[in-house]
């Protein structure tokens, strides 16, 4: 087998790690807000978070171009004020990953929080501890196995993102060429060996992620006394 430039793998990992990092905090903040507060427009915001689950990636890509394009409301603002360009950059790929993986993580976090028995939180409150400490020491650790599963799904979705990434970041070898794009364009060019190489690589990353999450879930479940 030929030696291939490994930059698509490193770029995919970079994009997935960065988008998962932001997805983690955004989903926890949103899940807390949605599960504890009632406010006008709550259903609409929730529908907006979950929308990428049911839309074709090309529609998401189109929406991102409208928002972050050079003439788009956010794109022109970022470029004029901070000199940050989103279209045709790896940042665009990370934003596409963020948008498609957020609903998966959000659903996992909501389900994980709902599984935490409210009696544990209430008994902690009767002991006089702050809401933040209740969350940090009771809710979050007990929800952690579900949150971890969501993180891995978000990471896997992020690393495998194709349609929206292609639309907003384009295919620029060495700049925005993630593994899914490398597979598609190798296949298009008739280079089946290269396409197969990247298929094996991305599959290995996926299997490693699933194995790792299963190991940690078991370990965490034992630690929190559920098994």
């Amino acid at each position: 087998m030929m030696a291939y430039d490994m930059s698509p793998l490193f770029l995919s990992l970079k994009v997935a790690v960065i988008s998962t990092f932001f997805v983690f905090f955004a989903s926890i903040a949103l899940a807390r807000l949605m599960s504890r507060r009632e406010f006008f427009g709550k259903s609409a915001i929730e529908a907006l978070i979950l929308l990428p689950l049911v839309l074709p990636p090309t529609v998401i890509g189109f929406g991102l171009i409208v928002l972050f394009g050079t003439n788009g409301p956010l794109g022109s603002l970022l470029e004029n004020w901070f000199g940050i360009r989103i279209v045709f950059t790896w940042t665009g790929a990370a934003i596409a990953s963020f948008v498609v993986s957020l609903p998966l993580m959000y659903q996992s976090v909501i389900a994980a929080f709902e599984k935490v028995d409210p009696r544990w939180e209430n008994v902690a409150r009767t002991m006089g501890v702050s809401e933040w400490r209740v969350f940090r020491t009771i809710t979050f650790p007990l929800a952690w196995p579900g949150i971890l599963a969501g993180l891995i799904m978000a990471f896997a979705r992020g690393i495998g993102e194709f349609g929206a990434t292609l639309m907003i970041a384009g295919y620029i070898p060495g700049v925005t060429e993630t593994v899914p794009l490398a597979i598609y364009f190798a296949y298009e060019a008739g280079d089946m060996e290269k396409a197969a190489f990247w298929v094996i690589v991305i599959s290995a990353v996926g299997i490693a992620a699933i194995t790792w999450v299963n190991y940690w879930r078991k370990k965490t479940a034992v630690r929190i006394g559920r098994e």
Binding site: R119, N122, V123, R125, T126, V129, P141, G225, R226
Partner: protein, 210 residues
């Protein structure tokens, strides 16, 4: 002194309770679903009444028209019916959860010795029996030196020896701390042995038993 005078509409009846409790031990008896746990939850701040008031030592826990006092500010020791021990931390961490660093913990050491749970301290809740969980939960409820103690079926999982030991300890703590104690029980013998007052609740209405 605890003053309770409130109404709360439940699914099948209205819970209407009215009593004053000095630093006494009061037993709540009554069939399942009669409103006993809701009464404890309202005092603790987990549930809120629809109208009326709950006052402990001149502090308004709940007063109609005012914002209810937060659970955290009430200083309530609450032993839940099924213990509600935190499953992810050790017995020792459970007991010390609500205590502040540097505070006097001599009463906790004493309780762990008397209730025979010292050897359980490094274990996790899933590694101990139902009776042991109940004793740990009782110690935890007392660890932060509450102003009032609410116990929901505190002796239900204990054998006779441990029931006697826990009850003796509860009486001793009560004599020393002088706080109101309300405990829910199904066992008439527990109520008669331990309580200064016995109150029966049926379908939300309470009657004092003399």
């Amino acid at each position: 002194m605890l003053t309770v005078d409130f109404q709360k509409t439940l699914e099948h009846f209205e819970l209407a309770v009215q009593f004053r409790l000095e630093d006494e031990i009061m037993a709540l008896v009554g069939s399942s679903g009669s409103g006993k746990t809701t009464l404890l939850n309202c005092i603790a701040g987990i549930d809120q009444p629809d109208r009326g008031e709950i006052i402990l030592n001149s502090r308004d826990f709940y007063k109609e028209g005012k914002k209810p006092m937060k659970i955290q500010q009430r200083k309530v020791g609450y032993l839940f019916q099924d213990y509600a021990l935190f499953p992810h931390i050790s017995v020792e961490e459970n007991i010390l959860y609500g205590t502040s660093r540097g505070s006097d913990l001599s009463h906790v050491t004493e309780l762990t010795d008397i209730l025979g749970i010292r050897r359980l301290l490094p274990k996790y809740p899933h590694q101990i029996s139902g009776g042991e969980k109940q004793r740990v939960a009782l110690t935890r409820a007392l660890a932060a030196k509450p102003d009032i103690l609410l116990l929901d079926e505190p002796f239900s999982a204990l054998d006779d020896d441990n029931t006697r030991r826990c009850q003796d300890e509860l009486v001793r703590i009560h004599e020393r701390w002088k706080i109101p104690v309300i405990f829910v029980t199904h066992r008439k013998a527990d109520a008669e042995r331990l309580a200064d007052r016995v109150v029966r609740i049926e379908k939300g209405h309470m009657t004092e038993q003399l």
